[in-house]
Assembly symmetry: C2
Homo-oligomer: 251 residues x 2
Amino acid sequence: MARAELLRQQSTHLALAELKAACANCNLREICLPAGLTTAELDQLDTMVDVRRKIKRGESLYRAGEPFDSIYAIRSGFFKARVTYEDGRDQVTGFSMAGEILGLDGIGQGKHNCDAVALEDSEVCSIPYSRLEELSREINGLQRHFHKVMSREIVRESGVMMLLGVMRAEERIAAFLLNMSQRLAARGYSPLEFHLRMTREEIGSYLGLKLETVSRAFSKFHNDGLIQVEQKFVRIVDIDGLKEVYAHHVS
Amino acid sequence: MARAELLRQQSTHLALAELKAACANCNLREICLPAGLTTAELDQLDTMVDVRRKIKRGESLYRAGEPFDSIYAIRSGFFKARVTYEDGRDQVTGFSMAGEILGLDGIGQGKHNCDAVALEDSEVCSIPYSRLEELSREINGLQRHFHKVMSREIVRESGVMMLLGVMRAEERIAAFLLNMSQRLAARGYSPLEFHLRMTREEIGSYLGLKLETVSRAFSKFHNDGLIQVEQKFVRIVDIDGLKEVYAHHVS
DNA sequence: AGGGTCATTTGATCCATATCAACACGCCGG
DNA sequence: CCGGCGTGTTGATATGGATCAAATGACCCT
């Protein structure tokens, strides 16, 4: 897999074209569907969006073990996915921003296998899975698109495997920052200046590092003139330098 | 996620009931489908299996970048999935044994994003994806089942994330052995005595460890009376002891 | 404004695993 | 039978990141 691709694929994202105005007007038609459907089909889709739901910072959209019945289109806000193990330790398994789809982890098990926790006040649209399944049979493009979204999730995770399996700390952080930047750009947000919504500890948990290591890497990048960091605010100053760190990869 | 579940979910496996005689008589009906379909539907399914293909040890079933058009049911043999990065380094992203499904990595991208390499002489059945998609619309249970298989892949990978993100070397090896054992059991093979099909280096690559570390862990488990290892042959002597190592997890 | 809590930074030390190195074993082809 | 190569084992050493520790700063609540 080309490295550039790896970056691109690290989110369950939707193509820019599929996303126009997604946040301004949340319905399935705009958030998670491919173009090329007939008007009648689009109308059918609109009937699928069940409810909008507001989730306050720190609250869970769903929790591991809860029955799975819907997937969610994030209208606004920011989430982390978290798995808690028996011994009480937990691990962040992903971050999701506005315009992305959440809840795929539940498909096929009948229940969710991670918690989705809002990192800031957020709003989502529920999409009942049974309706989606039903409609998938009727609308050709929808099924294909949905499989695409699912498989992107698979590919995303295999990108994370590389992160965790072969990259070293600074490379992981660089990859993380570049990935955030790309995902923000894909949603029309500024890709070079943004607020991290998560703590150093959450970043570390996601990347398989300790919070101190994350902090040190940020400091080092700052001192090296690659980024400017202040608390959760990040400005990418030298994106090529960052890419070099990411690609440096000792052989 | 319960730890036991984690183990269970680490393969793209199929329920035992779905699998009866899978290897003796490879067709889609037996290998990858849920019960409960009508005879007519089953007959339709049989038409989907395109070709059987033999792959010699060391050869690739498919390679990253090749166009994706089929998924594969492994009739016999053993495969590893491998991703090669730009700098020439590669990582093993999974192992697949007889009765499991291979090739899901290609769905949605139109091309495969990893190599599937046979670790021993193997035989697979191709299942053209377009046919599968088509039929999914016609047969209710098939679509649901297929989503299930895909999402199991997602869950599997999140199990691997835990491996790579939070476990230490010996825990990873224990988890790996227990997972192999379970998957073998699910296919009716002896779960306590088996041949690893892969080298220490391949195991290490999969688990994010170096081959020496894998070797040392095996030696230690051997000395501790948990397993007997000789080259690629493994006998699990004290499976509870192994589970303890796996669950030991320093907090 | 004052006090508590949580997030972050930075330094010092430790340790698990990588790395380097040497040797043993099995397998294959000559 | 020999030599070479791939694989595996084991020991010695190096090191990246974890861990421990302390201080600072941001934010919230009253």
